[in-house]
Structure formats: C-alpha cells, structure tokens
Symmetry: C2
Subunit: 83 residues, 2 copies
C-alpha cells in the first residue's frame, strides 16, 4: 500500500483567526514567547498500490481536500507501506 | 526566531469520523483506490529565541494544543528562522 501525507496550510497573506486564537491562548497561559501561530490540516491517506499517485493526489487536493483559493498544499508519498 | 512544526494526530485505535467522511467523499468522486484517511492538525508556532523550546512546546501540546487522552503529538524545531 501507499501512504500519502498531506499538509494543507493557509496561504501566507490569508488571515488565520484560529491561529490567532491559539497564539492568544498560549500567551494567556503564560507562554509569552509565542509570537505567532498558524493552524493547518494534516491528512494521511492510504492508497492501493499501482495507482498514478502523484497525479491522483494532486487532483484530490485541488478538488476536495484543499481550497486552492486560500490554501496551499504539499504532500509526501511513502510506497510499500505494509499496514 | 524559532519555528516549531507540530503534528497532532488521533491515536491509532480512536475512531476518526472526519477521516471516514474524507475517504467516502474521495471514493464517491471516483478515487476508489483510497482505502483509508485520517485527519489531524498541523500547527506552526513562531517563538522568541532563547527559550527552552523542547520543554515549552511539550507543555503547550499537553496543556492546550492536543488532547493527550485521544491524540498523539510530535514536533520539529527549526532554530534561527529569519521570518
């Protein structure tokens, strides 16, 4: 099987209220050295062997997993995973 | 500045309805080779230099960012980031 790890992050200019909330909560808890926080998504997909992984994952990200208007995505592929 | 990249994932035995929804949506869209999907969180924190990063980040994850009952977390630290 093939394991794909996908990171989806907001594009640099896009406001991230969730990240801001995380940063402020950390500051409130006493972690004042936290200057900034950005929150994204992380997905692990398990695919059948023998598929054209790069093209498929690219399509899946663009169509469903990420919003290409405001989000960037990147992925790494691990082939031959046993579980 | 120090940049910390944090991955928060559900522990292996924990049901992941969001991941299940992603998998079923991908299958419905025609990507039948997707056998499983798990969804987690990805965060990037920017910290001031000179903090005891490992201990601080460990504490932040355990106290606020992750739920250690059902989630695992791991992080990587990049020192000397300019932006």
């Amino acid at each position: 099987m093939i394991k794909v790890k996908i990171h989806i992050t907001l594009k640099p200019g896009v406001l991230d209220p969730q990240g801001k909330a995380v940063q402020e909560s950390l500051n409130t808890l006493g972690y004042e050295q936290v200057l900034n926080a950005r929150v994204g998504k992380y997905m692990e997909l398990t695919l059948e062997e023998g598929t054209d992984v790069d093209q498929q994952v690219e399509e899946m990200c663009a169509k469903l997993l990420a919003n290409p208007v405001i989000e960037d995505y990147e992925y790494t592929v691990e082939e031959g995973v046993t579980q």
